[in-house]
């Protein structure tokens, strides 16, 4: 723990020795950095949304599927999670290069870029959504769905009005996890990025291969503060929620005693 804080102190320290905010200013004027940030966010958002929708649907289907096929699909699903990242990255590169060549023979120009990044990110994100949603579906009290139908819902309405609420926490967790992994990913992006846009990670990687600019420290500082802010807010929100819940149940206890 000390090391973590220490290491960031250090980077910050280096940033502030003499240079002050010049590098921050520069960072925010650096078109490439801003573009990378934008790319990272777009790729993360788009891929997480698609992964969440597809993963949720997949989980629902898988839950109903017969065990053999399900086992096969689940094994495939584990692959992106447990396969070494570099192999995932490399295999995507091979896939997209092959696709590019094949499409070129048909006269279609296909370039590495957002599309490849997003496709790759979706693929390594979907498993996280599935693994988050499946347990929720398994815990889902089937009688809730039946109750909804009993009360007049057709199957689709039952899903929208009941099932989705029940598995919401899984879906949200899957989405957030996707978002995080997608933002943080370097290896897969490295092998699937295009010439036009780079993700932040790829850009940082390139930066580490160049003359070290204090910009990178400024960037660390900015990201660190952003992350800290997000985490603290989430934590505070959670704590408040918890308190509220506790109060709620206390009230209820009081009610029971009466």
């Amino acid at each position: 723990m000390i090391l973590i804080i220490f290491s960031f102190n250090d980077t910050k320290g280096r940033t502030f020795t003499g240079f002050t905010i010049k590098w921050f200013v520069q960072l925010f004027h650096d078109a490439a950095a801003l573009d990378a940030l934008w790319t990272t966010i777009v790729v993360a958002l788009v891929s997480s949304v698609i992964a969440t929708v597809m993963g949720t649907a997949a989980a629902i289907g898988l839950e109903k599927m017969d065990t053999k096929l399900k086992a096969v699909v689940m094994n495939l699903t584990y692959i992106p999670i447990i396969n070494p990242e570099i192999i995932t990255g490399v295999s995507f590169m091979l896939l997209f290069v092959t696709a590019k060549k094949w499409l070129a023979t048909m006269g279609i120009d296909f370039q590495f870029g957002w599309a490849t990044l997003i496709l790759a990110h979706i693929t390594f994100n979907v498993p996280y959504v599935i693994l988050n949603v499946l347990p929720k579906l398994r815990q889902l009290d089937q009688s809730l769905v039946e109750a909804a139908m009993d009360l007049g819902c057709n199957p689709m309405q039952a899903f929208l009005k009941v099932t989705i609420h029940e598995i919401k926490s899984g879906i949200v967790a899957g989405f957030l996890m996707s978002l995080t992994f997608s933002m943080d990913d370097f290896v897969v992006s490295y092998f699937t990025t295009g010439a036009k846009h780079q993700t932040l990670s790829v850009m940082i990687y390139a930066m580490t291969k160049k003359r070290i600019s204090p910009e990178i420290n400024a960037l660390s500082t900015v990201i660190f503060i952003a992350v800290l802010a997000v985490l603290v807010t989430v934590n505070l929100l959670e704590r408040r929620n918890e308190k509220r819940l506790k109060q709620g149940s206390l009230k209820w206890k009081g009610g029971a005693a009466r």
């Binding site: 809730l144 039946e146 009993d150 009360l151 007049g152 309405q157 609420h165 919401k168 209820w252 029971a256």
Partner: protein, 350 residues
């Protein structure tokens, strides 16, 4: 009165994974009746209910509702609502919205919903709980919400699958009374499932005793308790002494090596029969007055009565008595003819 029958199951059979769990079941449920399925776990009570509710399709036979065949009609098209065993309340909705669920689906105007939901919550004694979260309710309150939610759709038939199974004894007793009251107030048909015989006897107009997907007996609680169709029903419906006996002739049965007068007739001469004697029907008398005698093996105090085990005549007799005895002592027992229930031996079903 053909008209009076609201649900009718004709020759129903149901299977799970090719295994038959309901076999050629026939049953007519009368309008406004409180009918209870009673039977051990796995006997097919839930399945029968689900057939009526539309969640299970019978592989054979027909389901009629109000005279119309409704096989294949999906649950959301049936005028039947269900109260599920574990309530199955929607945790993301509050009490009001849970109850309003069915009405909202029907796109009823908001004020009307307000009014109806309030009235319904009133009925189940939950007025003022509208905005509570589901998980802020006790088990019994949740149960009431589940009932309100089902009833607000004004079903002709309400199906209740062990609705009180998850409640503790005290609450269960309370809710039994509550349910009965609601049923009588609304004059709706209740089809009720339980495996608790006391509950069945307490609440029902008619009890259906099931075993292995078959109906063993159907009748009023008193019928079932006092005239069980066979030893299984007798045993299931209350604690019993069940002995093998032989019917010497009408009104004379031998069991435990002794001849007894009885009130049963119509058996073959010397037919092997089951004899059922309720523990509370056995009178303990001084040793010399006893028609049967035995040694007191065990006494358990049960509050209202003592449960006494007496061995004698090759049988362990269970006796409920308000007087205690001394373990090890020899006592006598007597039976009057109407304490003795003679029934045909049940052919064992595989």
């Amino acid at each position: 009165m053909r008209n009076d029958i609201i649900v009718s199951l004709k020759n129903i059979a149901a299977e799970y994974d090719g295994e038959r769990v309901i076999d050629h079941l026939n049953l007519d449920i009368r309008n406004e009746e409180f009918i209870t399925f009673l039977g051990p776990s796995g006997c097919g009570k839930t399945t029968t209910l689900r057939i009526i509710g539309g969640f299970v399709d019978p592989v054979e036979g027909d389901v009629f509702f109000d005279g119309k065949r409704i096989n294949g009609l999906p649950p959301y098209r049936r005028h039947v609502n269900t109260v599920f065993q574990r309530y199955a309340l929607f945790p993301h909705l509050n009490v009001f919205e849970n109850v309003a669920f069915g009405l909202r689906l029907k796109k009823m105007p908001s004020e009307q919903i307000q009014k109806k939901v309030r009235a319904m919550l009133e009925l189940v004694n939950l007025a003022g709980y509208e905005n509570r979260n589901i998980n802020q309710l006790s088990g019994g309150q949740q149960q009431r919400v589940a009932i309100a939610r089902a009833l607000i759709n004004e079903p002709k038939v309400l199906l209740l699958d062990e609705p009180l199974g998850a409640l503790d004894l005290k609450l269960r007793k309370e809710m039994q009374i509550e349910l009965k009251r609601i049923q009588q107030a609304l004059k709706i048909t209740f089809v009720y499932v339980t495996h608790d015989q006391e509950e069945a006897l307490t609440m029902s107009d008619r009890v259906i005793v099931m075993r292995n997907g078959e109906i063993l007996q159907s009748g009023t609680p008193q019928d079932i308790y006092n005239e069980p169709a066979n030893a299984f029903v007798a045993d299931f419906i209350g604690e019993s002494n069940i002995l093998s006996g032989v019917m010497h002739k009408d009104y004379l049965v031998e069991f435990a090596g002794v001849l007894f007068e009885c009130e049963d007739a119509g058996f073959e001469p010397m037919e092997a029969v089951d004899v059922v004697v309720r523990p509370e029907d056995i009178d303990v008398v001084p040793l010399e007055q006893g028609k049967i005698t035995g040694r007191v093996e065990d006494i358990i105090f049960k509050g209202v009565h003592y449960e006494i085990t007496v061995s004698g005549h090759g049988f362990n007799w269970l006796i409920h008595s308000t007087d205690s005895q001394t373990v090890g002592e020899m006592i006598g027992m007597t039976l009057t003819p109407n304490d003795i229930h003679v029934m045909r031996k049940m052919e064992e079903k595989k």
